[in-house]
């Protein structure tokens, strides 16, 4: 494998965005959950909601903090590594990014401060409004960034002049053909991801303290939400797939590892696809089911990769396997939700220890599905940044050498591998302490060398004259 600046830049973008996406995947759902809890508290006056909300706000603050700083990295990637992409697409895409900043980032940032530090400073209704606006901000953010991403997948409402894209119809740019499906699929996916985390944490708390009201309430709320959203998500995913077949047939062919255009295609459960031999090895297939699922018709035609020139095909293995991982997650999720619904119906939801334990292991499932789904859609778009129009190889900054990008990629790797596990550790510790734990006790623990300044050497220098 030749490590040219393009490949290294792709790896770098994949690295920084894959880590970043884990946080919106969590904070979009959690922001809404906190707003709902604050609303319920206002409506019912019950203290249990304050307990749950305060508990999750602590976790939210860590996730959001990491999300903000890793998010700031993203727009600069466009300039630093993808300057030709920026030059070519800015006239169409940049307002979408800018509107994300204007409608979402400021809203989140301003009201997050109130959410974290202002419970005693503002009236309860204002606190609820702040929680709602933070949640709304995360949703606005999803709207704009997915509008931009969808336009890159299924461009619309544009013209090309001198190799640069210009908008001819802004509504068509924003509501490009894949946008409604992608938006629904991603936002519901984020809610499902968060709900599985809340379910897992709730299960843990109930197991540890069977009659703790906070644990039972969050466990039950998460399960109700999942009972609705997991089947809905599978339905939306199916519609999204039909949309991909219509607008990005090469991506669908890669997802299914179909080489020849055929009718009555089987569903490939497993295979080892080979890009060079243009065939699959070790295939496990179910006859006809492929056409039925992909086209909703037993006789439906599915395009094969051989219909596309070799230099216009995405790599097959990554979308193929990532898609199966995502669907595998969905199957497990659906199973858990069905079991949970049955247990609830039998009145044994809170005392089936096996299920309470099982959902703890399912807590990261949504993140796995989100990353897998993101790999499907982004690698499936290759070799293009703007599908069918702008190649990835023609998007990279021309001034970069492999050495430059290797340094930056290695730096991002080291820093993210330090920050993320640390953040996770701190969040898990909040979970272990449970909702009853108060911050005041924790903050009394002081360690390190509290009586010496951080910049001790510099201080001596600076203070020399005044002493």
């Amino acid at each position: 494998m030749d490590l040219d600046p393009v490949l290294l830049s792709r790896m770098q973008f994949a690295w920084v965005i894959a880590w970043h996406i884990l946080l919106p995947a969590f904070t979009v759902g959690l922001g809404s959950f906190i707003a709902v809890l604050e609303g319920l508290r206002l409506a019912t006056g019950r203290n249990v909601y304050v307990g749950i909300s305060t508990f999750w706000i602590k976790i939210f603050s860590i996730a959001f903090g990491v999300g903000v700083v890793t998010g700031i990295v993203m727009p600069f990637q466009f300039g630093s590594n993808w300057s030709r992409y920026s030059d070519a697409t800015a006239n169409v895409l940049s307002p979408l990014f800018a509107y994300e900043g204007l409608t979402a980032f400021f809203l989140e940032a301003a009201f997050l401060g109130v959410l974290l530090f202002g419970r005693k400073l503002v009236p309860p209704w204002a606190y609820f409004v702040a929680a709602m606006l933070v949640a709304l901000g995360t949703l606005f953010s999803s709207f704009w960034i997915l509008a931009a991403n969808s336009w890159m997948q299924t461009p619309a409402g544009y013209e090309i002049v001198n190799g640069k894209f210009f908008s001819t119809d802004w509504l068509a740019v924003i509501f490009s053909p894949s946008f409604p499906y992608r938006l629904a699929h991603v936002v519901v996916g984020f809610y499902v991801t968060t709900a599985f985390v809340v379910l897992g944490v709730g299960g843990y708390l109930v197991r540890r303290q069977p009659y703790g009201e906070e644990g039972r309430t969050m466990f039950s709320m998460a399960l109700w939400l999942l009972t609705v959203l997991v089947p809905l998500q599978i339905l939306i995913g199916d519609l999204h797939g039909l949309n991909t077949r219509e607008h990005q047939p090469a991506k669908l062919a890669a997802i299914e590892a179909r080489w020849d255009t055929e009718r009555r295609v089987p569903l490939t459960l497993f295979a080892i696809p080979s890009d060079t031999a243009e065939t699959n090895y070790l295939t496990v297939e179910v006859p006809w089911l492929g056409s039925l699922i992909l086209t909703h018709n037993l006789d439906g035609e599915v395009k094969g990769l051989k219909d596309f020139p070799v230099d216009q095909r995405p790599p097959v293995a990554i979308p193929f396997f990532a898609f199966r991982i995502m669907v595998g997650c969905a199957v497990v999720m659906l199973g858990l939700v069905l079991v949970g619904a049955w247990l609830r119906w039998r009145g044994r939801l809170y005392d089936t220890r096996l299920f309470l334990g099982l959902v703890q292991f399912a807590a990261p499932l949504g993140f796995v599905a989100v990353i897998a789904g993101w790999c499907v859609t982004e690698v499936g778009r290759q070799p293009w940044t703007v599908y069918g129009l702008l190649r990835t190889t023609e998007s990279v900054s021309p001034s970069l050498t492999s050495f430059d990008v290797a340094i930056s990629l290695a730096s991002y790797m080291v820093v993210y591998l330090l920050i993320y596990p640390w953040g996770l550790f701190l969040m898990l510790r909040i979970v272990r302490r449970g909702p009853k734990h108060s911050d005041e006790e924790g903050s009394r623990i002081e360690a390190g060398r509290p009586q010496a300044p951080v910049l001790a050497g510099t201080l001596d220098l600076a203070e020399g004259e005044s002493r």
């Binding site: 210009f166 001034s399 060398r449 951080v454």
Partner: protein
């Protein structure tokens, strides 16, 4: 689509404002991060951190708006400038990560507080220095071929950029000291007054050196500054700078609570105006003007409509969030 109005000046103003808001707002909280390193004990470090904990996130958002605003209004400049400062931007982003997560990690992680204290302070110092280098590289200009940056990723390493890097450390330190005087009392404030004066000396010295160096570096800037009648028209800028610097010096020495911060803001406004006068109308110095680098009128118009509505709203609720956390901060209350 025919346009009655030339939108480029409007976008120049909006982007200029966004960048200035960033420099001012994140400037003071990066400066607070720098001075945090000089605080003698844990209670004063807690106090210093608490003065910006609820608002730093909003301050940093102006960086995103500045970057995206440049991409949206002047995409050619974005596509040339950002690759040219590849490493300073990288270092700045990584440093901002450390100092940003330190707010929460430090509070949640009592055992490793020392580590996150260091991360917060050094992150602030390094991010500031990197931003100063970006500024210096920008003023010097870039090697450009066609629509792309044509130099190497190490072009930024120049003595002038090192100087502007150090200058910005003093500059943000000055803003930070002004903010701390505004938000704290007692020993923390006394220390801020002392550090503020040191930073002020550094800033005045740096402004002086940059002002002497710049015309030697660029003939066009020298011509603009010293040609008649410009020299008379522009003279108020250095004179006002000297007056504000003198007032700031006095403000740090007296018991004034707000004036040191206002003085620091004044010095930043004047320096900003000085740079703008020197470079206008170039957005990629020596190569492209604002008009040549601008995005299409349709793009600028589409974004302008929303911006004109949203920006006042943003300023209103951001103002409200500052108002919620108004007043002096103490170490023992206010956090969560």
């Amino acid at each position: 689509m025919s346009q009655v109005l030339d939108l480029v000046p409007i976008w120049t103003l909006i982007l200029g404002m966004a960048v200035f808001f960033y420099v001012l707002l994140d400037g003071f909280d990066l400066g607070v991060g720098i001075l945090f390193g000089l605080a003698p004990d844990a209670p004063s470090r807690n106090t210093i951190m608490n003065t910006i904990a609820p608002i730093w996130d909003g301050n940093e958002t102006w960086l995103v708006l500045g970057g995206l605003g440049l991409l949206a209004a002047f995409p050619l400049a974005f596509a040339i400038i950002i690759p040219a400062v590849y490493f300073p931007i990288l270092v700045m982003l990584l440093a901002l990560i450390f100092r940003g997560v330190a707010f929460e990690f430090r509070f949640r992680d009592a055992e490793d507080k020392t580590f996150w204290d260091h991360a917060f302070c050094y992150g602030s110092v390094i991010a500031t220095f990197a931003q100063g280098m970006v500024l210096g590289t920008f003023i010097q200009g870039f090697r450009v071929s066609g629509r792309q940056f044509a130099g190497t990723s190490f072009d930024f390493l120049t003595p002038f950029a090192l100087l502007t890097g150090i200058a910005l450390l003093f500059g943000y330190g000055l803003l930070g000291a002004g903010w701390l005087i505004l938000k704290t009392e007692g020993d923390v404030q006394i220390a801020a007054r002392r550090h503020g004066r040191i930073c002020l000396l550094g800033v005045v010295l740096a402004i002086g050196i940059v002002s002497i160096w710049t015309p030697f570096m660029s003939e066009s800037i020298a011509a603009r500054w010293f040609a008649w009648p410009n020299i008379a028209l522009l003279a108020p800028v250095p004179i006002a700078t000297a007056v504000v610097a003198w007032l700031s010096w006095r403000a740090f020495g007296n018991d004034w609570q707000v004036t040191p911060f206002l003085g620091a803001i004044g010095l930043f406004i004047l320096s900003y105006i000085g740079i703008a006068i020197s470079l206008y109308p170039m957005i990629v110095p020596h190569h492209y003007t604002l008009w040549q680098a601008a995005s299409s009128e349709r793009t600028q118009a589409f974004l302008l409509i929303g911006t004109l509505v949203l920006l006042p709203v943003i300023l209103m609720y951001t103002g409200w969030s500052y108002w919620v956390f108004r007043g002096k901060v103490h170490s023992d209350i206010g956090y969560h």
